[in-house]
Symmetry: C2
Subunit: 354 residues, 2 copies
DNA sequence: CTGAAAGCGCTTACAG
DNA sequence: CTGAAAGCGCTTACAG
């Protein structure tokens, strides 16, 4: 890995000149340029990005710090940011914080001086958030906060209207005629999970439906916990006719659990997810879900970062993205109470309806 | 963002001393340390990672360059590398090359001087590969090549035995009694796709089964193309009794297409995928698939990188990971030829077997 | 059109 | 135990 100095020596020019031909900055006599280019080719010189950054005070990297890099949602999000970043000439420095606040802080420290912008999704909810941000957010680095409740400050914020999304889901089920609607919540402390839960509560209240504690179970945003949660609901004394899962992964786990129990979706039970990850439309039946514009989220985040870099003193934005309901095959009106599916009640009514 | 110089000034010491207390390197008198720490706290000083890298000639980053950052497979792979990297104190600089060779080269250039190690998965197959690598691979940076055919050189290589994996899949179907086994291939030029195809051919030959061109269709490694490919097969004059898809995403697309056509899996048609992405066990029916140890792949890659950094002159490794078959619900013996499923042949035998 | 020199923010022998 | 100085590999006024 020769340095610029060696190229200069071989071409018999100064390092300043080499820099000029590499970056096409400033005028260079054609024959000088040729000599330098020959030396570069001969030595296989490639500029040292790190040194360049230090000098230019611009790294060309944007940091992406998420609670996790696991799963379809984050995968889509990273991809969305990546596409927009590459288009703008940036690379991504990606870190999962493993949902740990202390680790997030460590990551942010490590990123200082390595990034020109930051996209951060906090691993926790509202508590402590503000003070923590003040302490750990890098100064003078354009930052956009994803789905964080306390959006005031020197950074941009982009949020998904989780409550509205949950309401769309529940309203849809209510319109279909469901009265007993269960929810599989996300992990405690997770901000998105909490909001989706609030939306569920609100929607039930709006529909004048009672809230039954037995119909609310919790999961961890993954398929396995969705399966477990679903099994819990299946043994409830009065089974729900519909289930709203706080994300698609859990909904898909739920689908698997129902299949094991020989319960049909949507005939015996309707199911709604949240996120609209790519596989949602391919499971069986295709999942009705609240569609979050994940790619748009990534694109908008980069856009805000670029704007903040261009105009550091302009006021910051606080965007709220509205999800829409994607109605697919996993929802239908409930089976008429008078003639329930034989499968469904077989266990409870040994004789069954002849 | 105060620099080390300002901390030094405030604490009335030299920058060397500040550096010593920050990095716990070299002895410092307790009261001096206290003064420095107070200054650091007061100023909110965080060391500039970029400058530190330049000085130390160590960045703490490892580059990950993949054909794409999309989809469950790459998502899992990145996660596997991330977990191992973080454990070793490294961060990930991730780039998708969008399956373009020129873009890969650009990415590699941009990474020079920003990484201590590189995990690279080439976007193309065997042709040109060797020369390209010689030109574009960074010198003196430990590198591990993933699933690349030409594994000799100054880098480590880790490969998945795709042919063996494909043989496992086909052998399983043959043992179940299938004779007409179709394949949905991956994109042309993709090395993994080509090898899986070769394994399919080999296995058919070993089982003395004829290779029928009409039973081989191609896809693009995503769900949508799996659906299309499956539809092609469904209208073939003689329908296969089993389908081997070159990856899980296409298998899942295929599952959706079959559902639309009211063909049952595995009763009417058996289906095998490849990769064993997390969702494979949750689709309906659970997908029989060739399980690639994705997380292990990531872990091993980091391990090789660390070893190469520690002993640059030790000989490099060339590991081959053996996939195993995960038999789940999407495969079964074919319907007996004498009494085919009515659904299956309804279109061809209007009368059907009475 | 070109070069000498300072500077980006750190680390680390070397000397004291 | 501490500091002055060189150096990591680049860029960029400034002067010529």
């Amino acid at each position: 890995m020769p340095s610029i100095r060696e190229v200069a020596r071989l071409a018999e020019v100064s390092v300043a000149t080499v820099s000029r031909v590499v970056n096409h900055t400033g005028p260079v006599r054609p024959e000088t340029r040729t000599r330098v280019e020959a030396a570069i080719e001969r030595l296989g010189y490639v500029p040292h990005g790190g040194a360049r950054s230090l000098s230019l005070r611009r790294t060309g990297n944007v940091g992406v710090v998420l609670p996790d890099v696991h799963g379809a949602f984050f995968s889509e999000l990273v991809r969305g940011i990546d596409v927009a970043a590459r288009a703008a000439g940036y690379h991504l420095l990606v870190s999962g914080s493993h949902s740990d606040l202390a680790e997030s802080a460590a990551v942010l420290r490590a990123l200082h001086g390595r990034i020109d912008g930051l996209v951060l999704m906090m691993p926790v909810g509202s508590d402590r958030g503000d003070e923590w941000l003040r302490r750990h957010l890098p100064h003078r680095v354009p930052t956009v906060l994803l789905n964080h409740p306390l959006a005031e400050g020197a950074h941009d914020a982009i949020r998904v209207d989780n409550r509205h999304g949950a309401r769309l889901a529940i309203d849809h089920l209510v319109e279909l005629g469901h009265r007993r609607i269960a929810m599989i919540c996300g992990p405690a402390g997770n901000h998105d999970a909490e909001e989706r839960r609030l939306g569920y509560d609100e929607a039930l209240r709006a529909a004048r439906l009672p809230r039954e504690p037995a119909l609310v179970v919790s999961g961890e945003f993954d398929e396995a916990s969705g399966m477990r949660a679903c099994s819990q609901l299946a043994v409830a004394s009065e089974r729900p006719t519909a289930v709203f899962a706080a994300n698609d992964a859990m909904a898909i786990g739920c689908l698997a659990a129902l299949r094991e129990r020989r319960l049909r979706v949507p005939e015996d039970l309707s199911l709604v997810g949240f996120d609209d990850i790519p596989v949602a439309r391919y499971v069986s039946p295709a999942l009705t879900t609240v569609s979050v514009p994940i790619a748009q989220l990534g694109r908008l985040a980069m856009q805000r970062l670029l704007a903040a870099a261009a105009e550091p003193d302009a006021p910051r934005h606080d965007d709220v993205l509205a999800p829409v309901l994607a109605v697919r095959g996993s929802t239908a009106p409930p089976a008429p109470a008078a003639a329930p599916s034989p499968d469904l009640l077989a266990a409870h009514q040994p004789g069954g309806p002849a």
